[in-house]
Symmetry: D2
Subunit: 174 residues, 4 copies
């Protein structure tokens, strides 16, 4: 499935005109969260920060999607801004636009069942995975690397040989 464009009211750590489509050509990892959701604070946000540090920025983009579906009056952009500062979140954060009910519009478009949810979108904009709750770092590392490698092999034989020769994606191989 093609990943739906984000419907946002504003962005933090990026220009307000930013679009998901701007990241086409990279693997995009989206951390869908609410700032007062315990699992997001304990697992989701720290994992997204690790992914941001581990993979090179020209291959993998990490984005946050603040999709508030409860306690709307408590998780405002003013509060989110303080949260991002306190937890040292530096990747771009999209603020999901309110919908007609409790669930905001982008969250509904992706049919997310809760937070934290981790989405992985490939270089062509296809949604490749989404997972609710705590996820395995081994698995996420494998999924991201598989997409990077697939994209390289699509470039043809030379890139494929290069990929086979070893040290990719900034990882410390022999």
């Amino acid at each position: 499935m093609q990943a739906p464009e984000f419907i946002t009211t504003e962005w933090f750590n990026a220009d307000d005109t930013t679009k998901l489509a701007d990241y086409r050509g990279k693997v995009v990892v989206v951390e869908a969260f609410q700032m007062l959701c315990p699992g997001c604070i304990q697992h989701g946000i720290p994992l997204a920060q690790k992914i941001q540090r581990m993979f090179p920025a020209d291959q993998v983009a990490v984005l946050g999607l603040h999709c508030v579906f409860e306690h709307h009056a408590a998780m405002t952009p003013v509060s989110l801004n303080a949260f991002l500062q306190e937890f040292q979140v530096t990747f771009p954060i999209a603020v999901d636009a309110a919908g007609e009910g409790y669930v905001p519009q982008t969250m509904e478009a992706y049919q997310l069942r809760g937070t934290p949810s981790l989405l992985i979108i490939d270089q062509k904009g296809e949604l490749q995975a989404h997972q609710l709750g705590q996820v395995s770092e081994l698995q996420i590392g494998a999924e991201i690397a598989t997409l990077i490698a697939s994209d390289r092999s699509a470039l043809g034989a030379d890139a494929s040989l290069e990929a086979a020769s070893g040290c990719e994606s900034g990882l410390c191989t022999v």
Copy 2:
């Protein structure tokens, strides 16, 4: 560098005639450890067990290499056997053969600097990575998946498409 064959006195969880070369065609992850090394117990062995659970056995083989370079009288095969039972280690364990000095022969052949060390050997038997100490699960997951994907792309376009089509290695992709 081609990964040197293991020089062993016996194996646990496998036949004593087992060879590293028997696993050619798979990515081989080797946890080099000593049973009384704190970092091995706290990080190395649990990581190897997670890798064993995460990746399909027909693509990734997890092996242990018990390479004792200190307290030789304490870390005998009898003690190792009890350790493996208590810590529920079920992957094959090679017992590295004593050398002329403190360091056993396989450990010397691989020039390992200590334990725990994690080795990653590709499907053709090339040593692709070795890391001493605590390692990132994101990174290890990515390294293993990169080797799996490289091997597929070497098979030609069809395999490449298959790789691109999504859900592999038991991971929960869309």
Copy 3:
């Protein structure tokens, strides 16, 4: 030093007319926190919840003091209310009254240097300890128990017999 009375604008999980003095006769453990302070979420609040579960409510009272000294617009009572629900905080929370500068009035009266800070007040209302940052559970358990024991020995034999009558907390004693 006698623990200063709290200067509050409201309380959660307690009547708004609640006073610190209402808890005289018990050991009072005060978790001074801000809802968006990472150390408070990771260590301070969980420790206070453990103390609440471990010690009998007729001997030890656990209170929160929400003392906002930064990001005032982000950490409002509306946001705090959602935070307390999401993190399942059930002990009484006093909202510290704003002062003339950034630091609220109770925080200034206690001369706290930051959050999380843990205060221990004895049964007579004397401030016995305050500690900034992550604290040892062994040490906090010992400090609370020392105050309980000191109070009992001051009461004489009758109280002592009462105290001796039971194994209370479902713990596995001989």
Copy 4:
């Protein structure tokens, strides 16, 4: 119940003639363990080391009791010696003497059901608590401090009765 004297074949980090009775006058915390028991390595030994660091040595003695009831050939004194060095255990360790069956003699005298077990013995040699498995640091800190405080109050006659009768803080004493 009066804590039975240890029946030992040797001690590490102490003279082989050491007796439990030598520690009379102090609170004695005994970590009963097996060197290849996962819960002992993960929780029991680290907790005993924290207690050793937290409480003053003239008031609290921390001892280990190596009570092997399985894999006897694997957990010999030679192996134990290496274990203690690798895990930097510096408190005295008694090696429990083999019994007629699998269970060693001191373990049987205390009727321990497994490892890790934590024993707390008061200044007069009375066994005040024993707990199997992972234990709460708050609770253990409280139990030790309660015994220290009781002993202090024993300087007066009424309080002395109280101290002998045991359990004060609602924590897990007899």
